[in-house]
Amino acid sequence: MTPAISTTGLVKEFGSTRALDRLALTVLTGEVHGFLGPNGAGKTTTIRVLLGLLRRDAGAVTVLGGDPWRDAVRLHRRLAYVPGEVNLWPNLTGGEVIDLLGALRGGLDRQRREALLERFRLDPTKQCRAYSKGNRQKVALVAAFASDVELYLLDEPSSGLDPLMEVVFQEVVRELRDGGRTVLLSSHILAEVEALCDRVTIIRAGRGAETGTFDELRHLTRTSVVVETARPIDTLTGLPGVHDVSIDRTRAHFSVDTSELNRVLARLVDFDVRSLTSSPPTLEELFLRHYGDVIETADADAELVGAR
């Protein structure tokens, strides 16, 4: 199957700053693809290149088989976009914006529009200036999802949504995938990407760092565990896959490679576990741990780009 999106060696520079540095990204048709990276890694820049809003400086880009710079208008009939920062016209209502963006894209499904308004509990009669950030985000989501298109480009779409709406959002994305649509979901929240995406590309300082399914990336993840036991914990340090151990008699705090989790739990049982909390790693931890010292310079660069 031809990929819905493919970039190779994609370079985008702003003055002397290299925002995208030979980025490779492949999104297969019909998958939900996670696009993970810390703030300022180049996610938004990539999506703007995919939309033909920014012109690439080098490399090859195909979206739905076309060149997003040359064929922007033709391609845009077949895709929908939710910007990361939703700025709308203050004196138009949410309903008007949804209809307008749908019409400019080439039409939207009235029934779907009503159903989405209902599900996201969005009042379409308010003027955009009166919406909170979360509600502006909902306007953009409804406007995008109400169109029946092949590809959805979502740039940190759930920022500002409350947990209930996050659930609705995830449901809708799953329905799109079941309907055979392609979704590129940029995010800096690992849990959201893990819940929704078939495959993930991790972007760091404008470069694709890793691509694969979550299982393939399992080696990147480590679980933090805090445990309290009845008997003093004598040793954990020797176990394979256990890191950053600190033990205070019957209390221990450590992190463990996900692949080794089961073996470590089996050992803990011997100490008579009273309580145990485990938390998935955050993206920031993952980056710090996996890419170590490089991250700081990368972040500094990334901030420069973000501030432009």
């Binding site: 809003l53 208008v73 920062e85 700025n87 709308l88 004196n91 209502t93 963006l101 009669t125 009166a130």
Partner: protein, 539 residues
Amino acid sequence: MTALTGTATLARLALRRDRFRLSAYVLGLATLWAGMLAAESAQTHQALVEETEIFVRTPAVRIFGVASGVSVGATVLIRGYVVLAVLAALMSALAVVRHTRQNEETGRSELVGAAVVGRYAALAAAIIVTVGADIALAAALGLAGVVTGQPAAGSFVTGASVGAFGAVFAGVAAVTVQLSSTTRGASGLAAAALGLAFLVSGVGNMLGSADASGLRLVSAWPAWLSPMGWGQQMRPFGGDHWWPLVLSAAAFGALVCAAGALAARRDVGRGILAERRGAAEAASGLLSPLGLVARLQRGALLAWAVGMLGFGLVFGAILDEVAGSSSATTDWYVRMGGSDVIVDAYRASTIQMAGMAAAIYVIQMLLRMRAEEADGPLEPILATAVSRPRWMISHLLNAALGSLALLLVFAISMGLTAGSIVGDVPAQLRDIVVAALVQLPAILVIAGVVVAVTALLPRWAGAVSWTLMIVFILLGPMFGAATLQLPEWTQSLSPFTHIPKVPGTDVTAIPVVAPIAIAAALAAAGLTWFRRRNVALPA
């Protein structure tokens, strides 16, 4: 007084944020006033008398000012008072809105409100800083008068009358920010109150009568219902009354108390007036780039049309007065209007001023393209099946048609009043409408410039467009190269210079076709370049 805790700190914050803006207002207005006085000082006594007489004799013109006798100060202030007072009121109202409602809308006040800050502190700080600026303005205007050689008493009464009007509008804004939940709404309500104040005092002056000398207007009672009337009735340079200040002070006090009472009755971030609901679905007219831009420009176009209608009616109504006068003013009309026949020269120069106003409208509207790009609403539009040229052309068409509509509104209203005074409405309408239509090519050149600059130098679009507009006006027929002591050829750089001076002269093809061709070339260059560059979206 825990409700006022933190006022001093917030006042310092407001002063720090506004130090340049408020200083610029105060210095700018004082300079403007000094310039007006200096220019008028060059006039002969006879010219001053004639100018004053027009403002006493013609009811329509009395809307713009109250005559209080003949002297340099008194005569300039007839026209000058409304200008100074309106700018002072805008300075004050916008400052109060900026430090109260705008902070609430952006969420800054939540940050501040969580600190040790009393309920009324933000409002009190805004009022203190604004009234401080009004007092500084009063002093600066007074000094400007003294420096340009006017009597000290009149100079400082002028300052006080303008400053007091500003302070009243600080009070008005203190109330409107309680009423509306948005910055735009609060400023809009204050602006509406300003318009009303002008209208009420204007009606009072229209209904007034001349005193025995024929050089002083006695206003009718409605003038006393408006704070603008109170300022005018202080009669700077023509009696120098201080006592109407009491009325302004009382109104200010009442407004501030009302604002305090309203503030106690509402939540932070909310207004007393309920938010208006809008349409749940878009009307079909909105569903295209052209329709969207038309909708976004609608409010501004309506406001401009009301202004053009008013000025058109008034300028038409005084046709006779101008034709009858014989002084330095007529020389100016003759030069700008390009005809020895004063009626033709007057009509041509008035229409040219309307054309410049319409050009300003076009610049304002087209610079919104830059704002849409920099603020972000352009991004979702260009992510749909709308091409960049189509988006730009939608803006261009709307702005051009809007300026055409404004010119027609002005021409028709001027033609109607002028025609009814000289007794030939169809002829006046025909002449003036044709004169208005020939302004359009020059306006299109300016539109082309803005489009090209927005495409080529997005970050500098506003600065370059406005600078060019000012240069075009200075080099145009309104001033003329001779006045500015520039070589003759520089005049031809301004598109305004090439407008045929209808109805005094005939229309020929080249002055119409050539600017349109230039405008088309500029717009085409802009569209091409915008198609090729990165969109400069917010990070």
